[in-house]
Symmetry: C2
Subunit: 94 residues, 2 copies
């Protein structure tokens, strides 16, 4: 299987789960382009380890990157990669 296809499947897998799908939508909608883990935790009623797992799946798919500022972690959407594999996602899944 071609490398692009393998990556594409990984991207689909990342979004084939309600929590992660909503996380991505939150990142798309937010104004400053990034969200802290606390803002996700406000929305999703999941344990810290579960949240951490979902962050990592999104990171492994290359859809988000993270930045640590003090004790908190901030997540940013990789819009370029999203556009490469899912062009128009931002318009459709608003």
């Amino acid at each position: 299987m071609a490398e692009f296809s393998q990556e594409a499947v990984r991207v689909f897998k990342a979004l084939a789960e309600p929590t992660r799908y909503e996380m991505l939508r939150m990142l798309l909608k937010c104004s400053n382009g990034e969200l802290s883990c606390r803002e996700f935790e406000k929305v999703f009623d999941l344990s810290k380890p579960a949240m951490s797992h979902h962050y990592r799946v999104l990171e492994n798919a290359g859809l988000v990157s993270s930045r640590k500022e003090g004790p908190y972690v901030y997540y940013q959407l990789d819009r370029e990669r999203l556009e490469r594999f899912l062009p128009g996602f931002a318009q459709v899944h608003k």
Copy 2:
């Protein structure tokens, strides 16, 4: 969760598996717009029940419809629905 989001997750789930992702690509590339199950079986080394399962996942996601002609089943891609949830898929995942 909004109905559109639920359907979107179902669409992503359908494509988050190598066999089904390739099946959809085959349907995109084929000239006459539909493929019989035998053409899929030529490509994928899976049992009939496994193939049947994958057809149904794609159908439940609304991405393909099927037509029975004689003993064979033919599958057609719902390009309108694909475009609604994944605009540009046909261009990107060629």
